[in-house]
């Protein structure tokens, strides 16, 4: 029993099962259900983003746009071509991934900050495309998406949709987990610990950064597709830089290079506006969630570089500082 509980894939599946059941056995209102769905959807995107930021050390400011691309693709193909939902879901992941590969080929050859700049521009340019390419996106009027059907079963209720997103999330977590335990994963981990050392070991930084970026855009596209079929509507303003910044905040606050951290971070960011709503003296301040997130992001980077996922371990470590335990690289200095 103990052995099986230490088996991470098993734990992920078990947790997924339990989480997926919760809405089925309890009585939640629709907005809570929407929130739960959103948390899992953002968690998917955040896990992908975390492979990029946590392992490859690269920042993307265009992930909202990749997510939007997935959303529009899925909405378009299910509505206009009656493509089965699962096929559109896959397509919504693959097309952004191909776009990501091309962008990565250009920007990842260069120094660290160029991907951030290239994706900053990409985000703006793609959002502009969403506005102008009426034939595909229906412009500012927005695109509608159908209720997804899987093998003839329509996921009209949010409880049922939730089961779907949890399954997708667990599958993608297992994929990420297996990837990180493979040869590619070892290269990614070496790169996270020290780019110099990884390079000295013969790891091609460019190749693995590219893999990480492509994967992260795949996850973003999948998340976008799930989002649009949950909300059943999308319009260009949903995919601005603010969403990309929130994704970044999820990953950093949740914990770099940590899968559970990504999920935690997604929950944290989705909860903030809800949480703020209930505090009276904050209610009247517009956009207070954004201030709060920004402050949290800065504080985490400065003081808790491992994020929520390892906050307690880190506090313990700093209390025991006298005993010389190896501190991972980012904490030095």
């Amino acid at each position: 029993m103990k052995g099986i509980l230490q088996n991470k894939p098993f734990l992920y599946i078990l947790t997924g099962l339990i989480v997926a059941m919760i809405p089925l056995v309890t009585d939640m209102d629709r907005s809570t259900l929407t929130m739960l769905n959103l948390i899992v959807i953002y968690a998917i995107v955040a896990i992908g983003f975390n492979i990029l930021l946590g392992y490859a050390g690269q920042i993307s400011l265009g992930h909202a746009a990749f997510m939007g691309l997935g959303a529009y693709i899925s909405a378009y193909f299910t509505s206009n071509f009656e493509l089965p939902f699962l096929a559109s879901l896959l397509l919504a992941g693959v097309i952004p991934m191909v776009v990501g590969l091309i962008l990565g080929l250009v920007a990842l050859r260069l120094e660290g900050h160029y991907l951030a700049i290239a994706t900053l521009g990409f985000g703006v340019a793609l959002q502009q495309t969403f506005k102008e390419w009426i034939g595909f996106t229906n412009g500012f009027s927005g695109a509608r998406a159908v209720t997804p059907e899987i093998f003839g079963f329509a996921l009209r209720e949010r409880e049922h949709f939730f089961v779907l997103v949890v399954i997708v999330c667990v599958l993608l977590i297992l994929f990420a987990h297996n990837l990180l335990s493979s040869k590619t994963g070892r290269a990614l981990i070496a790169m996270r610990d020290s780019e110099h050392a990884a390079q000295a070991m013969g790891v091609s930084l460019f190749k693995y950064k590219l893999i990480a970026f492509a994967l992260s855009t795949f996850y973003a596209g999948i998340g976008g597709s799930l989002y649009v079929h949950l909300i059943r509507f999308t319009e260009p303003n949903q995919w601005g830089i603010d969403v990309s910044l929130n994704l970044l905040a999820m990953v950093v606050i949740g914990g770099l290079a940590s899968i559970p951290g990504s999920v935690l971070g997604a929950a944290f960011i989705v909860f903030i506006p809800e949480f703020v709503k209930d505090i009276e003296w904050l209610q009247n301040i517009k956009n207070v969630a954004s201030i709060f997130t920004g402050v949290a992001l800065v504080l985490v980077i400065l003081f808790f570089p491992y994020g929520l996922a390892r906050i307690s371990t880190q506090i313990k470590a700093s209390l025991l500082k006298r005993q010389k335990q190896p501190i991972p690289k980012e904490m030095e200095g």
Binding site: K324, P326, I327, E332
Partner: protein, 233 residues
């Protein structure tokens, strides 16, 4: 003039300096010898304020310098010509020298003449980007740049590194001349023979510890020490 007392310094968990004490007497050339990675540069970093020691202290003419910021140390009259020359490649020779005089107010021009007196080559190349100089010229510039601060104590980190023997000879004789004009010199070297021959006193460092010290002439003639620590010859 300068005293290090029981200095311990770390990089993260690497214990780079272990209980290092040394003294540099005014007017002397003191040399610090040791193999690669012994901690020589770290000692200079502690003196210059780039590396804060965990324990111990640094005193200059009786004043405590421990943990002072580098610009304060320079203002006290201690300046360093760092390992690998580190000239500013996209500044001209003259601008490099001007930066050396950053802490000096007005009389920079006077120092400029003095530097050009030691290193006439630099005057010829005054307007050239430092990155275009040869290795030897860059070393002259690095030393000249340090002299611009009118130091009481000049720290030189491996000035002979990677230079042709003839140029090394030149550089060492200029170091001697600078010392003759009244500047105390702390010379870090791996080139033991030549360093010892111009120095008054010497320290030998191994894996972060001072393992021997004495008048340069004695060490130069002590074949046992040379055999054991300085790679024979």
């Amino acid at each position: 003039m300068l005293k290090l007392e029981k200095v311990d310094a770390y990089y993260g968990y690497i214990h780079a300096l272990k209980n290092v004490s040394l003294e540099i007497k005014e007017g002397n050339i003191v040399t610090l010898l040791g193999a690669n990675g012994a901690g020589k540069t770290s000692i200079l970093k502690v003196i210059s304020g780039l590396l804060k020691p965990q324990k111990g202290n640094v005193a200059f003419n009786g004043k405590d310098l421990t943990g002072q910021s580098p610009d304060k140390v320079v203002k006290q009259g201690i300046i360093q010509s760092p390992e690998g020359r580190q000239v500013f490649p996209e500044l001209t020779v003259k601008e490099n020298l001007q930066i050396g005089a950053y802490t000096q107010s007005r009389e920079a021009n006077q120092s400029l003449e003095k530097v050009f007196h030691y290193f006439p080559r630099l005057k010829e190349r005054e307007k050239q980007d430092a990155g275009t100089l040869s290795g030897g010229e860059q070393q002259m510039l690095a030393i000249g740049r340090a002299l611009m601060a009118k130091p009481k104590l000049l720290l030189l980190d491996e000035p002979s590194l990677g230079l042709a023997p003839l140029i090394v000879k030149d550089i060492f004789s200029i170091i001697k001349e600078i010392n003759g004009q009244g500047t105390t010199v702390f010379l870090v070297e791996q080139n033991a023979n030549q360093a010892l021959s111009i120095s008054h006193y010497a320290y030998i460092l191994e894996t972060g510890k001072v393992i021997h010290h004495g008048p340069a002439a004695e060490i130069k003639n002590d074949s046992k020490i040379k055999q054991a620590y300085l790679g024979g010859h």
